[in-house]
């Protein structure tokens, strides 16, 4: 199958199918849940599927994001990627289909089959360029942690069935678990889905796998696959476990906040553009899980409206992130194809050569930084509003601690702004740091279409929050039996909690800014002039400005490195005065990798070495093993 066939027909068709899926999901949000039993599966374990509001909203997310990504991929994939294009197309669509099936699954068997398919197809996609050893090891790490998570999820389902030995979700909903078992199921689900979402400390696969994969695959993984973890968490906690206990929510809350700060801090010191985005994904998923945790705490304490608010914030954040992060990953894909560079230290000034990519990425970067009136701000606003209710929680220590932790949310959001300024500024602004960048060219038509689709989605989600809230209300009504009412306010004003007198109208906001900007431009033109002269950069008249005098990526991250020193383990190579060829090198590694994974890996290695003693290589010994086992079993049969 040639690249042309795949690129010009199959991927655009898949994009159209995604759009259709998203439209159908959106229009059917208000409908009641539908069930079906599929004839596929094992002889008396058929697969059940169910379509309810939660599934529909995530199908909308899947369709919307993958439409843009597929259109981009149509123009992106070329020959020489390492895997034949037809095979890659198959893996891509298998990935998409398995994620869709996860959302539909209504029993543990279907869920796990779809989950495993998702993991394996994404593994093959990550190792597309399998000839490169780093990519192979990144894929291996990804698969390993995905399976650790899958084991945990399997155990969750094992606990949830509560003795009935029926693994359908309906049976799990009806099962009554003792508080200890229910808490155990929650923790197991959190570990399993947290591993997939990349929460600390099970995050190490994310910064390896996302850069290793081709950019549309990274976008799909970061934008859609990570949300499957949030879906799973919400499904287990709010749907299968019934009413959660309030203190369960503290676990995702704390882990989410730690992941948010950790991800943002690490993103700020990266020198590879895709690793930066991967760590930024860890931060955003941390915020999503914070919202889930907060919602559980509120629901367990009987505060329904704040719980609905927090859950809405989480779902909105998932929708936002799927668009924003995909947009940025696709942008980096175009940059990679145009320049061949992933290292931030060799990019720069690309806004002149690649305007479409640059302006679309600007929208994505501003959205992730949480600036009004784009969509990132809306979910942040909703989350902060729900934190404002936290002092009413009727439990002693917690009702003070959670308002304090608002500070961490604010810190994470502010750090996201820092990271995005670094990302956009180092890649697209300034002067080109390498002379080869002068040959960079902008992306093709299909890629532009994909980028524009996602950018328009970001803007639309930012300017029309009331409509999105209306859609999300169906979900929260199903899960928490409450929904946020608008109380007859106008369509352009978001006022989720009328008793609090607080509202946000992004359209008015945006129009006000646009009006004032336009008035200023007009007034300046009227009263003065628009004359412009071009000259060399002023640079305080020092002269001799070269591209090496700008900030490097390491340089831009230096304040964060200083302030948050304890998060990193830093290796420095400093030049001495006697060096013939002085070098300055800084390598930043993850402390968790050093402290947790390397010892763990060493332990596994030692256990394996101890067991490997059994492998003697001599046939006599192996026959002795079989003989010995036979004797032991016969002796046991003798025991009355």
């Amino acid at each position: 199958m040639s690249v042309g066939l795949v690129g010009r027909t199959l991927f655009p068709l898949s994009a159209l199918a995604s759009i259709a899926l998203a439209v159908v999901a959106a229009m059917s949000l208000a409908l009641p849940p539908e069930h079906a039993v599929l004839p596929i599966g094992l002889p008396d374990l058929p697969m059940h599927v169910r379509l309810d509001a939660l599934s529909r909203i995530f199908l909308l997310l899947l369709g919307g994001a993958s439409a843009g990504i597929s259109v981009f991929a149509a123009g992106y994939f070329r020959r020489g990627e390492g895997t034949p294009p037809g095979l890659m197309c198959l893996q891509y669509h298998l990935f998409l289909a398995s994620m869709g099936f996860i959302l539909l699954a209504d029993d543990a068997y279907a869920f796990m089959v779809a989950w495993e398919t998702m993991a394996i197809s994404s593994y093959f996609l990550v190792t597309t360029q399998h000839r490169i050893p780093e990519i192979r090891s990144a894929g291996f790490l990804y698969l390993l942690i995905a399976h650790v998570g899958a084991i945990s999820i399997l155990l969750t389902f094992g606990v949830l069935q509560g003795g009935s030995w029926h693994f359908t979700f309906d049976a799990m909903r009806a099962a009554h678990l003792s508080p200890a078992w229910a808490a155990g199921a929650f923790v197991l689900a959190f570990v399993g889905f947290g591993a997939k979402a990349g929460l600390i400390p099970l995050h190490v696969w994310l910064p390896e796998a996302h850069p290793a994969a081709p950019s549309p695959v990274s976008a799909l993984m970061s934008g859609v696959m990570l949300k499957m973890a949030v879906y799973g968490m919400i499904r287990v906690t709010f749907d299968l476990l019934g009413t959660p206990v309030w203190w369960w929510g503290l676990v995702p809350l704390a882990a989410g906040l730690i992941s948010a700060i950790y991800g943002a801090v690490f993103a700020a010191v990266q020198t590879d553009m895709k690793r930066l985005l991967a760590y930024s994904s860890i931060e955003n998923l941390g915020l999503a899980f914070t919202g889930v945790g907060l919602s559980v705490v509120f629901l367990g304490a009987g505060m329904r409206v704040p719980a609905a608010l927090a859950l809405t914030a989480t779902l909105y954040h998932c929708l936002n992130h799927s668009l924003m992060k995909s947009l940025l990953f696709l942008g980096t894909g175009s940059v990679l194809h145009a320049t061949g560079e992933r290292n931030l230290g060799r990019l720069g000034g690309l806004i002149h050569r690649m305007p479409w990519v640059a302006w679309a990425s600007l929208v994505g970067a501003l959205a992730i930084a949480g600036l009004p009136p784009l969509n990132g701000f809306v979910s942040e606003w909703l989350l902060l509003q729900s934190f404002l209710f936290a002092d009413r929680i009727p439990h002693a220590f917690v009702n003070l601690l959670i308002p304090m932790s608002t500070a961490l949310v604010a810190l994470a959001v502010a750090l996201a702004g820092y990271v995005m300024v670094k990302f956009f500024g180092v890649i697209f602004l300034g002067q080109p740091r390498e002379s080869t960048l002068a040959q960079a060219h902008d992306c093709g038509f299909l890629e532009r279409l994909g980028l524009v689709w996602l950018a328009v989605g970001c803007v639309a989600l930012g300017l029309a929050p009331v409509q999105v809230l209306g859609a999300l209300n169906h979900v929260t009504r199903q899960l928490t039996a409450t929904s946020l009412s608008q109380q007859g306010g106008p369509w352009w004003l978001l006022a989720p909690v009328p008793t609090r007198q607080v509202s946000y109208g992004p359209l008015v906001f945006f129009l006000a800014i646009a009006l004032i900007v336009a008035l200023t431009v007009f007034a300046v033109r009227l009263f003065y002039h628009q004359r412009v002269r071009r000259g060399p950069a002023w640079d305080c008249a020092f002269g001799g400005l070269t591209a090496r005098m700008q900030d490097t990526a390491e340089g831009f991250g230096q304040p964060i490195r200083n302030i948050f020193q304890s998060f990193f383990s830093i290796e420095r190579e400093l030049p001495t005065p006697y060096d013939r060829a002085p070098r300055y090198r800084i390598a930043i590694t993850d402390r968790i990798w050093r402290g947790l994974y390397e010892p763990l890996g060493g332990l596994v290695q030692r256990v394996a070495d101890a067991i490997a003693v059994l492998q003697q290589g001599r046939i006599a010994v192996y026959l002795l093993y079989s003989f010995g086992t036979l004797i032991v079993l016969l002796a046991l049969a003798l025991v009355p």
Partner: protein
């Protein structure tokens, strides 16, 4: 207050606030400089100097670097626009502002963040050493000042159960006079954030000529003519806005709080002028008494602000005052 049909007096208040902010911001800056000169036993330029500066800059031809992108050209307008919208949301003269329904205090913090991000991006655009240095430092100060400001607003929001700034202001204006330690702590935190965000001593010296010590000035080095004029005006507006936020939160008396109240509105103008005069004098006093911190100490400074804000919140929850 009907959102869909704001009354005439509400619109007048809104417009008046914007016009007053635009007109008075450079004067406020001139006043602060004047006070600083008095305290250092020097002679300052006239109070009207910032106006003359801005007018002179508008007349000039803009000189842009060859590799300046459209982002560089549009950033001053966006920064200026966000500051003007911020001035429209802050209740400096009256609390019945129609635009406030579209943007509450968190959106206000978001507006400042937008201005900061565009300023930093514009500084990185030309690719000089000083621009990127300034951008990096500005984002460093910003990412710590923004949570501190948010905690200050959060503390005030918890007291008033809303995040809409005029509502907070009204609530606090109706409190009886007394000593409120939590508000005192929050006020100290807010002052520290004000000093950091507006590039005042001890975080940054607005009158420095040494590029390696600059934070805010370094980002404006490549701008000239009308772009520089708009940026300077936006900086003055930012200081004015911060001062008005401080008044709204901590000294809210004198702000017109009833809907149809031309007398109240007329009364609020001299009250605002008096508050600004006192605030400008205090700012100059603080600046004269402090020395500029090393840049790497600025995070500690902001961490102190953060601590004060959180302490204010805690003390309020415990003592109820």
């Amino acid at each position: 207050m009907n959102v869909l049909e704001p009354s005439i007096s509400e619109l007048v208040t809104q417009l008046l606030e914007v016009v007053a902010a635009l007109a008075a911001a450079p004067l406020f800056l001139g006043w602060v400089n004047q006070c600083r000169a008095w305290l250092s036993n020097r002679r300052a330029p006239s109070i009207w100097m910032p106006y003359r500066n801005i007018r002179k800059l508008f007349d000039k031809d803009a000189v842009l670097a060859e590799n300046a992108s459209p982002l560089f050209r549009i950033a001053p307008y966006i920064v200026f626009g966000t500051m003007v919208v911020a001035a429209a949301i802050i209740p400096s003269m009256g609390t019945r502002l129609p635009l406030v329904t579209a943007a509450d205090a968190i959106a206000l913090v978001g507006l400042f963040a937008t201005a900061r991000v565009f300023l930093s991006l514009a500084a990185m655009d030309v690719g000089t050493a000083f621009g990127t240095l300034g951008a990096r430092r500005e984002m460093m100060v910003g990412f710590l000042a923004e949570p501190a400001l948010l905690m200050v607003i959060f503390g005030a929001s918890m007291i008033s159960a809303t995040t809409a700034l005029p509502a907070i202001s009204e609530h606090l204006a109706t409190q009886s006079l007394g000593i409120y330690p939590s508000l005192a702590f929050t006020a100290i935190a807010f002052t520290l954030v004000l000093l950091a965000e507006n590039a005042r001593i001890p975080v940054d010296n607005p009158a420095t000529h040494l590029e390696l010590t600059m934070i805010h000035e370094a980002m404006l080095l490549e701008y000239s003519a009308r772009h520089l004029a708009l940026m300077e005006w936006a900086s003055a507006l930012r200081l004015f806005n911060y001062a008005c936020i401080g008044f709204a939160l901590f000294v809210p008396w004198g702000i017109a709080t009833r809907t149809i109240d031309p007398v109240g509105l007329a009364f609020s103008i001299p009250v605002l002028a008096a508050k600004l005069a006192v605030a400008g004098g205090s700012l100059a006093l603080i600046e004269t008494m402090s020395a500029k911190l090393r840049v790497m100490r600025a995070p500690e400074f902001l961490a102190t602000a953060f601590l004060f804000a959180v302490l204010g919140l805690l003390v309020h929850v415990l003592l109820g005052s």
